[in-house]
Symmetry: C3
Subunit: 351 residues, 3 copies
């Protein structure tokens, strides 16, 4: 069992520590569930009461929350959630991993290269010409298509499918059910012939370093050329990325968002949950698209857009406010009508 | 071939029977497709004509529909759909199941416990320390992670993935492509360092008894602590359940709904299709969220909310009605303008 | 390496050719990426500049664009995208396919029929009584349930699941993660007993010829009777098709759309991305539902509907226009109020 002094944790994080520096930390937990030897963290004033009642041995908090917790053992951080995460990652992250080496049931095609330190789980299939670089881990039932390149220190959970010629960088994490390199949705309907022709999807997919893609998400190959996901971008569950989409670096794509073909997303962009984007548009660096928005035209850098069809946040708020004041306007018009009738009748009377 | 008298079915259901009690029932079918020895059912007056024309030997109907079908053979039920379902389940449900026993190609890790009466299909992988209780069935290609607990009489269709430490109750049904225990979407962006840190997801998932989860749905593990699905809850295809979500008992979550992290859903709640919920909110017992709604704040018990952003049904209807009467309001204002001009000119004329 | 004269391509397509008929074409690429021996295509005036700058040896263009590219080598087509696709399909489509024959690790049940020319990949499982017709290809990890019928010249990518009794036509393409024949979402809640009964889903699924279904899409079996997908229909990634839905011929269902139970979709219908349809409605032939729309009632043939709730395009535009002119209306009312007050005071003054 892991056991570390609070001071040692502070030194690792580069934080100052308050209270009992010698407190022994044996676990991590959220505020409510923390026991007397657990570390927890506090970032949101909504949870102030929970924090007060928490049994945790110590809390990671921001400098401005220091006085709120006077008397408790604290680690003072300029990013408490991140620093808490660093502690979990270093001492308390115990996920199960397959053994190193190639499992005897894995089927390895001709001219496949598997570098040192790799782990290839039971019932994996790696087709001919694929290359897997050092220290990459495949859980069972992964399918690695022909001529795929998979970088170093990657982690593929069970049931990941990489179709042929997909290119994956280093330290990429792919979760169960992810499919990369399926055909794009390219069809040329020809009603005269009573037929829809398939447009062959002969491109590929490039995933840069440090990308993480979560469960059951689909990234289609380019029709021609590549679909690209930039360095450090994180994609949640059940997201759809169409053919020839390009996503920049360090962007966040939340669950069930859908990005249509050939759209380009910049760096540090956030697409919230269930957002939909049409094809062939651009979303500028640092832009935010709020949940369930439907985006049909370019989004300028650093802007925040919302609604379906999406518009700048401020215009959307104005429109919603206008609608909510409709009954007030209706009342005003009714009053005007009444007063006008009075006047008209007065005129007639006095006429 | 199954063959049962109508009377015997009535006795099983505790229903009264009208017409030919000795009619032999040899199958079940919807109204249009029913043959002369099939049982069918009727619940919706939209299908009254189909019911009249149906060849079915007998119908399960409500008491208030008894006269409508005078002369036909009927089973009078206070819940015709449910009782029809009970008949199908008892006599006409013939789904294919794998043979009992562990298939020789299944790979079973150290210290795995598999109780009596289980069926483990071809090419399943069960990692070390997992426990599978009595009479549970795994179709081929299921992945059972390390230290998973899987209850009694569960049914896992092909390609189900349970990551490590997931806890599943009794009589749980998991359909193909379901992933339980993937990492939550937890990241701490740090633009100054030009990096997004992963927040380790070290919690687990608890699924209570009698839950059913349908194809390609994803349930993420808690960041810390558990994601919980309560007893009897049913979740449709392609649903996303974020980390540390808690869903109560007997709730219904329809296809493509998405629930963000740490949100709490009560008992007997209905989330209709494509609903999205932000994180850290509460949906009270018995509440209904209509299709495609976007919920950004707490939903009171037994309320019905709709729209994006979601609001109580009655306010939403009022708002929609107000908008649809906008052109009428505009006409009224135009009329006021005209009359006012007349008055003003009269005043000037007479002034 | 493939190398064809432009004239030969023109003859294959039945196009007229302009410029250098002897140009040697060695590849295909989009406008920007094309090299001096590539064929490219042009359809959208938005890309006129790219087309001018493109290094491509020749372009496939429409007749009306002929003059725009005077001096270049051209293939004149009445459907440039389709004809370009035909060229790619004929000469430049090089996707990796598994070898013919049944892989020794495939597990084949009793009474399974596999016709000549089939390819069954590693670790496929085909349950008893299934039939696979000539020249069909299964990539690894496909699960073919009991009594499934799979037509000729089908292509199933890795990790496709067909549950028991599913019927698939000829030339059908199913992408990774597709699940066909999972149970429909049929439950009869019974709050008095504190229980939700499962309604057994004992129907099946019928997929006609030339259908393509993309990654991680789910098609549920009928509760009773069939869920049907008509000839030539194309379904994108992550789509949900509920039990007893019927989709006609040559329809296009875009990513993340959801169709609730028993709804009927006609021929040549387009459902754009993230559309949701309630159950038990009809969408007429040739109708278009725009992205993210929520459809709660029948859609007439050839109509275009939009919004949530969906309404005819023209009404939706009028409603949006009305809302955007609200502040103008408000100003008008303010002006009327002012003038009326003036009049009233004048009246009082002169009274």
């Amino acid at each position: 069992m892991v056991e570390i002094r609070l001071l040692e944790i502070a030194q690792f994080l580069g934080c100052t520590v308050e209270g009992n520096k010698e407190a022994l930390i044996r676990g991590v937990a959220p505020l409510d569930q923390a026991q007397v030897d657990d570390l927890s963290f506090y970032t949101n004033s909504k949870y102030a009461t929970r924090a007060k009642l928490s049994k945790a041995a110590a809390l990671v908090v921001g400098l401005h929350d220091r006085e709120r917790f006077a008397g408790r053992s604290l680690l003072i951080s300029d990013n408490p959630y991140r620093d808490f995460a660093r502690v979990v990652a270093k001492w308390f992250n115990c996920a199960f991993l397959p053994k190193a080496g190639v499992h005897p049931t894995a089927i390895i095609g001709e001219n496949v290269q598997i570098a040192e330190g790799c782990s290839v789980g039971a019932y994996c299939v790696i087709e001919r010409g694929a290359e897997i670089r050092a220290h990459t881990t495949l859980f069972p039932f992964c399918y690695i298509g022909s001529k795929v390149t998979l970088g170093e220190h990657c982690l593929l959970y069970p049931q990941v499918t990489l179709l042929d010629r997909v290119i994956i960088g280093n330290r990429v994490i792919l979760h169960s059910g992810v499919v990369i390199g399926g055909d794009g949705f390219g069809f040329a309907p020809d009603p005269n012939r009573g037929h829809i022709d398939k447009v062959p999807q002969v491109g590929w997919v490039e995933i840069a370093d440090d990308v993480e893609i979560q469960c059951n998400t689909t990234i289609d190959r380019g029709a021609l050329g590549a679909t690209k996901i930039g360095r450090g971008t994180k994609i949640d569950n059940l997201v759809q990325v169409g053919h020839n989409v390009e996503i920049g670096e360090h962007s966040i794509i939340v669950s069930q968002a859908g990005i249509s073909g050939s759209t380009k997303i910049g760096n540090w962009v956030t697409l919230a949950g269930q957002v939909g984007l049409v094809g062939h548009i651009q979303v500028g660096n640092g832009a935010i698209v709020t949940a369930q928005s439907g985006v049909a035209k370019d989004v300028p850098p650093k802007s925040v857009v919302t609604g379906s069809p999406a518009q700048p946040m401020i215009e959307n708020r104005r429109a919603l406010a206008g609608m909510s004041r409709l009954s007030e306007l209706r009342k005003k018009v009714r009053d005007l009508e009444y007063r006008l009738r009075e006047l008209e009748q007065g005129k007639i009377d006095s006429g």
